[in-house]
Amino acid sequence: MNYTEQHIWELLTTIADPEIPVLSIVDLGIVRGVTLYPQANEQGFAGEIIITPTYSGCPAMDMIRLHINLAMTENNWPKLLVKQQLSPVWTTDWMTENGKKQLQAYGIAPPQGKAINETYLEDAVVPCPQCNSTHTTLISAFGSTSCKALFKCDSCQEPFDYFKCH
């Protein structure tokens, strides 16, 4: 065997969320575990990867599953079983600091504070990813994808997406 669980984790950092191409699925915090079996099972799987969806209706999950096994094939590694697990429930607190920086640089304001605090969007202080001004206003709690809300900046006048706490 010429690869380890660590190699697979590294491979997973190259797989992007289809809806936010600058964010890897590891930085997004949806990979919950990688396990290699001592030997391939009857279905030919060499191990398993556990992922958890961000939102129930997230259409990216099927795509992510496909991309993982495409990447494995490209490395001539055997296929892995990609399992979906709902509990414990995904939260934006699992997003890495690196992931938050990538989001910001891409023009999406990263989640502010801990999801557990349940601050309402109307009360959240979200700095503008373009000019860093904190004079921003919520336009809509629901944005271009399930995970985002729409804000506008009152300083530079630009609208922007906010990855909302969840």
């Binding site: 939102y55 129930s56 209706g57 709902l86 809509s140 709690a141 629901f142």
Partner: protein, 261 residues
């Protein structure tokens, strides 16, 4: 003959199908508004909410199919066969979810009633050990918090808005209210499911009604006079609307059975 509903099925499977049907039918009714919302941002909001409900429905159907397939001597079920091959008599969704949504007032009021009701049920599911059902409830509840907040704001904004918006909201409430009671009048499978928690339905009714009353008061809306509740959805006896909903939703699978992408 394919069996798509059987009262002998274990209560937790019937309960999963009830939660799945509610979410699916509401998703279908909300989806019809895609492209028709009053402004772009709100159009997107309602479409996002529909997507959340569709995702929740898929999780509940997948669970129900998995559990059904472990029973002896049953046909093979999938999330798709449960959604597309059942007739109106097999669906056990609340009548509330299938009602027409002729204007924005109906859209936000149905979302408000359903999300606040479901959120209470899911919170209680999170406190009992119901396995994967509890996991789906926990996942869904985070999404429902956003739906509840959004629809509550709309109910208040339109109710306590102009004379015209108040009239439209009040009319929507008068039409939809008779269907609210079905939420806390238990069907047989619910009574069995919650048998170790006998006060469940009583508490649900009280907590839900207190919350609704608070918001309707703030919205300056009057609850209609007490009347008999409209029921039957959970027994598969639906309103006329349900036939139209299913005809549209199931059209492709009825015309080309078992076709896939």
């Amino acid at each position: 003959m394919n069996i798509y509903w059987n009262q002998q099925w274990p209560a937790h499977i019937q309960y999963a199908l009830f939660l799945a049907d509610n979410a699916l039918i509401l998703a279908q009714q909300h989806s019809k508004w895609c492209g028709k919302g009053p402004i772009l941002e709100q159009d997107i909001a309602l479409s996002n909410i529909a997507l959340d409900y569709l995702g929740q429905a898929r999780n509940f159907y997948q669970l129900a199919a998995e559990e059904l397939n472990q029973l002896e001597g049953v046909q093979f079920y999938t999330e798709d066969s449960l959604a597309y091959h059942r007739t109106d008599r097999n669906f056990v969704n609340l009548l509330l979810t299938e009602l027409e949504q002729p204007n924005w007032g109906h859209c936000v009021l149905k979302t408000f009633l359903y999300s606040s009701f479901a959120s209470l049920v899911f919170q209680k599911l999170m406190h009992i050990q119901a396995g994967e059902l509890t996991a789906i409830a926990e996942k869904s509840n985070k999404e429902l918090a956003y739906h509840k907040r959004w629809s509550q704001d709309w109910v208040i904004r339109l109710g306590d808005g102009t004379a015209e918006s108040n009239t439209i909201m009040q009319q929507a409430l008068n039409q939809i209210w008779p269907y609210a009671g079905e939420c806390f009048i238990p069907a047989n499978f619910e009574t069995v499911f919650w048998q170790n928690h006998p006060s469940f339905f009583h508490e649900l009714e009280k907590e839900w009604m207190d919350y609704l009353q608070t918001i309707f008061t703030e919205a300056t809306l009057q609850l209609p006079a007490k009347q008999a509740w409209q029921t039957g959805g959970k027994q598969g006896i639906h309103t006329e609307q349900m036939g139209y909903v299913l005809a549209e939703m199931q059209y492709l699978q009825r015309t080309y059975p078992n076709s896939v992408w």
